[in-house]
Amino acid sequence: MSQTSIALTDEGVPAPSSRRSVGRGRLLMAAGLVLPVALAVFWEWAAASGLFQMRLMPPPSRVWDTMAALAARGELTHHVLATLYRVFAGFAIGALAGTLIGAFAGSSEAVRRLIDPSLQALRAVPSIAWVPLFILWLGIFETSKIALIAVGVFFPVYLGVGGSIANIDRKLIEVGQVFRLSRLALARRVMLPAVLPDWIISLRSGLGLGFMFVVAAEFMGASEGLGYLLIDGQQMGKPDQIIGAIVAFALLGKACDTLLLIVTRPLLAWQDTARGTL
């Protein structure tokens, strides 16, 4: 054949280098700190120079002192753990239910038509609207709080999983069929990995909503937790405690999200996306 001498012209695209220079990585991470640090410095200066009223807008140093004192008494850890426990318990329940029901709705048109309209209607109900009902049903202690958080986590996970399953590439399913995979093997070897990226994104937004709902939950009469610190700060006139609790929420939320990202990163090594920078 006259083509035998033709070399392979389809040389591969070089693999994207996974090791960016470490120094550059650190620098990029530090970039995220510029804004909060600048804000804190400005605030401190504004408070010291009398531009802000110290009593209502305590400077970062005051907030720090208050939180340090709380931490020294062991109270801060106590409140943080209480909040984390609620978020994780609610997240676990909501994510599990959202995944299962989403999987049913995504894989069966009949189930989807049956339950999706009702769930979409329930999704439109503001979270706070559930509070009185849950208190009546489940009491004012942990159960009602965890239920409220679970409701918040459920919807994004349900939507993400259901939509993702319904959108799996039919062509990849056919590959599984050609090799005569059983329904179970098809689910495990094709559908599950195909859904994984969307599932993780839905878990992340579920976790974010979990942190929103925990505040609503802790507003409905808690004696511990970061949400309690907010209410307590308002009632006792302690803005430094309120700001400290808000900062703690920000840090906790970010930390949990990062943790989820790190834990799931090996599962998505195959993806060709800019995910690493999110």
Binding site: Q3, I6, L8, D10, G12, V175, A194, L196
Partner: protein, 260 residues
């Protein structure tokens, strides 16, 4: 041995894709199907693969009727359809998960070598070019050792050079186990390069129009007179098949004519 017996296919929306198609493909034969769009060539492959069922007629592989995907039938699609979450080696081994690990590993390594991707076992599909991905898809079909291998325009998205090199990889793999190959293509040059027999189909509804035997030694010299003659014959048939219908020559017509 693949037998297609009086197959007709009408889709539920009323599209009449195939009418009374009969073909016999011998063991180790390479059959190419060419035809204009809408001649039902892809439908025919999907029926043989067991991904669709015929409205009438039946398809037999070694005397077994095909009603669902069959272990003796493999297919390479128009797109590579690799699973993006599996490394190249696991994509190739996707259909032979039941084999013992060593056997599986050996077959994968061998197939990788044959398609010229020996160093690429651990790569992700996204790191490969289109041609490399399609080679992985071909290797994935071959490692399962099908008796009948279906190719649905697998080279159509590639440039001419890549296509020529893929033809070689395909023939090299084919020579080892000599499966029956049925390939659909719109490239007459490709059909004459690879096939023992080229079937031209006529569209709407799809029917067998004319058959040309290509009895040339492999590897084939594209500049040889016989190659040129076979090509012209197929092109002529293709041209006639697309003209408004007069009286088509009966079923399998001109096979006696082409021995060189």
């Amino acid at each position: 041995m693949l037998r297609i017996e009086t197959i007709s296919k009408t889709y539920s929306d009323g599209t009449h894709a195939l009418e009374d198609v009969s073909l016999r493909v011998g063991p180790g034969e390479i059959l190419a199907i060419v035809g204009g769009s809408g001649c039902g060539k892809t439908t025919l492959l999907r029926l043989i693969a067991g991904l669709d069922s015929a409205t009438q007629g039946r398809i037999l592989v070694d005397d077994e009727t095909i009603s669902a995907p069959h272990p003796a039938v493999g297919i390479v699609f128009q797109e590579p359809r690799l699973l993006p979450w599996l490394r190249v080696e696991d994509n190739i081994g996707f259909g032979i998960a039941d084999l013992p690990a060593t056997e599986r590993r050996d077959r994968i390594a061998h197939a990788l070598d044959r398609v010229g991707l020996a160093g690429y076992a651990k790569r992700w599909p996204r790191e490969l070019s289109g041609g490399q991905q399609q080679r992985v898809a071909i290797a994935r079909a071959f490692v399962a050792r099908p008796a009948v291998l279906l190719l649905d325009e697998p080279f159509s998205a590639l440039d001419a050079f890549t296509r020529a090199s893929l033809h070689e990889h395909l023939l090299r793999l084919w020579e080892e186990t000599k499966p029956t190959i049925v390939m659909v293509t719109h490239d007459v040059d490709e059909a004459v390069t690879l096939a023992d027999r080229v079937v031209v189909m006529r569209p709407r509804p799809g029917r067998v129009f004319e058959t040309t035997w290509v009895q040339l030694e492999r590897p084939r010299d594209k500049l040889a007179l016989g190659f040129e003659k076979a090509k012209r014959r197929v092109l002529g048939a293709l041209d006639r098949s697309l003209r408004p219908e007069t009286k088509p020559p009966e079923g399998v017509a001109t096979e006696a004519a082409a021995s060189y």
